[in-house]
Amino acid sequence: MMSRSLFRREVSLRSREALHGYGFILIWVVGFALFTFLPLVETFRYSVNQVTVTATSINLDFVEWANYTRALFTDPNFVELLVGYTIETLVSVPIVLIFAMLIAMFLNLKFRFKGLFRTIFFLPIVITSGPVIKELTAQGAASAPGIANIPAVIEFLEQLPRALRSPVEYLLTSFILILWFSGVQILIYLASLQKVDRSVYEAAAIDGASGWEIFWKVTLPSLSTATVVNAIYTIITLSHFSENKVIQYIYARTYDVHGGIGYASALAFIYFGVMVVLLGLVYFFLMNWARRGSR
């Protein structure tokens, strides 16, 4: 008797807790349904239709996968843009990660004028917006000062095989931009560097480990989670950036008379797919690396 009423009370307490919890997240669940899930489904429906928008209504004409096949096999630009995006992302991610890690380790040291340098390195977080970047790139202020104009560099580029040329060229012309995308990543690295227990470093130093060994055996493994988070964050920011060429292409197609919204929706889904594959690849590569490092 006694134990049964206790049991019932336990259950009702639990369900009460769950109810309160749902109360807190309810607004998000409704918002997710209205502003993310339904529009996503609707966009997919557009992507398998020929969509015509008039002043009063939206007409759908089912075309199966025609929009997708057109994007992948007949569109002269889209696949090329996608390949460019993939290369640029794969070039940028390691640079951002290494650079952010380096700066975070610098800022974790004790030295004079640290505040000044910290202010400089976090500045891009505040000012990186599409139109600003566009103006700066148009004025040639986005490349490392003068490098892209040195005759030797231009000649060097011409000697390179075609496959290598575009990544290297991208690297030279947008070097500062790539670095400008590492603000938040520096913050994340810095936060996790400061969590590492000082005594671990001291113990390693007492055991006679050199700075080099401490970096590879202590610092780097402790940054593995932050590295995965940073890699994902970098890929997503680069992919969502409004000056991204693929996004601009998709946006421009939306207003096309022929195809229009249906075709742009199909492009958006293909782009989303490529992005997820990239995320997956980088995630598994880094997870694998982190696991091997911790062993």
């Binding site: 919890g21 607004i27 409704v30 918002g31 209205l34 917006s129 700066l136």
Partner: protein, 313 residues
């Protein structure tokens, strides 16, 4: 030889150059500062370039001898850019468009983060997964149906088009803020909340009187980042607000067109034609409010990010 090496002066010199366990040596410091200054210069180069170009007079622009030091301070570019950007109006619009959704988004994100961190309920992993999905899904996969719905409701061009999603936790990068609060509440001790519960306080009351004050740094960081990201966002604002409200970045992206409306190229004299100095003035005016905010609040950018533990672990 050994004796020379052990001599106090040599030891001191060695300590100075290579450092000891307590202090970095001079060589280390030299390399460190050299690297930091070099990287700092590369970082600031676009900004310096922007500022220097923006104060060049038309004569300086044409003069190949003038690179980094203009012969005079020429404020005329700023006067023009100020007019072309319709600065007071667009500044106010940008401030509203970034502050109001940010306030709502921060508050809702804290509610959701608190619910996820403090209550046990069925389906929590699914919610967390969907949360990550909202961060990954590109805006162009959801934006067109939203735009068409807004058009039917007559909300296109109205700031409500950005406020509504923020209110429902679906604002710009909301997922990050929910995760920040989730992390933050997980790391805060439960003791105070439990004692308030024993005193008979309701869940909502506990949230407002105990949890919110304890998470204040997370609120400030989230709000600042949210304002910055809303301010700089152009993809969504262009789609939702075009034809209605115009924000600063939106006006900047139409700069050439707006300039030629005010100063028709065939009518004005050569010195009043659009040049890069005016463009750079416009760009600088665009980031100026954020720069001011950054220098006033920069302590919060760094220190409280470290304190709130935004590492996503």
């Amino acid at each position: 030889m050994n004796q020379i090496l052990r001599h106090p002066t040599v030891e001191r010199l060695r300590g100075f150059l290579f450092g000891s366990r307590a202090r970095h040596g001079a060589i280390f410091n030299f390399v460190l500062y050299a690297l930091l200054i070099a990287i700092g210069f590369v970082y600031l180069h676009p900004l310096l370039f922007m500022f220097v170009t923006s104060i060049k007079s038309p004569n300086d622009l044409l003069n190949p001898m003038v690179q980094w030091v203009p012969t005079e301070f020429y404020p005329g570019n700023y006067v023009k850019a100020f007019r072309v950007l319709n600065y007071m109006n667009t500044l106010l619009a940008s401030a509203l468009i970034s502050v109001i959704p940010s306030l709502l988004q921060t508050f809702v994100a804290s509610l959701v983060g608190y619910g996820l961190a403090r209550y046990r309920f069925w389906g929590k992993p699914i919610v967390l997964l969907l949360l990550l999905a909202t961060f990954i899904i590109p805006p162009q996969n959801t934006v067109i149906p939203q735009m068409l719905t807004y058009r039917d409701m007559g909300l296109l061009g109205n700031p409500l088009a950005l406020i509504l999603p923020a209110l429902m936790g679906q604002g710009f990068r909301s997922a990050i803020f929910v995760l920040i609060f989730y992390q933050n509440f997980l790391s805060l001790p439960k003791v105070l909340e439990e004692s308030a519960r024993l005193d008979g306080a309701s869940d909502v009351r506990i949230f407002f009187t105990v949890a919110v004050p304890a998470a204040l740094p997370a609120y400030i960081v989230s709000f600042i980042f949210s304002v910055v990201w809303y301010w700089n966002e152009t993809f969504l604002t262009v789609i939702f607000l075009e034809g209605g409200t115009t924000t600063l970045p939106m006006q900047l992206s139409k700069f050439v067109q707006a300039y030629e409306n005010l100063y028709p190229p065939g009518v004005v004299n050569v010195f009043d034609r659009l040049n890069e100095a005016v463009k750079m003035s416009g760009t600088f005016l665009n980031i100026l409010p954020l720069l001011v905010m950054y220098f006033v609040l920069q302590r919060w950018f760094v220190e409280s990010v470290e304190r709130t533990g935004v590492t996503g672990e």
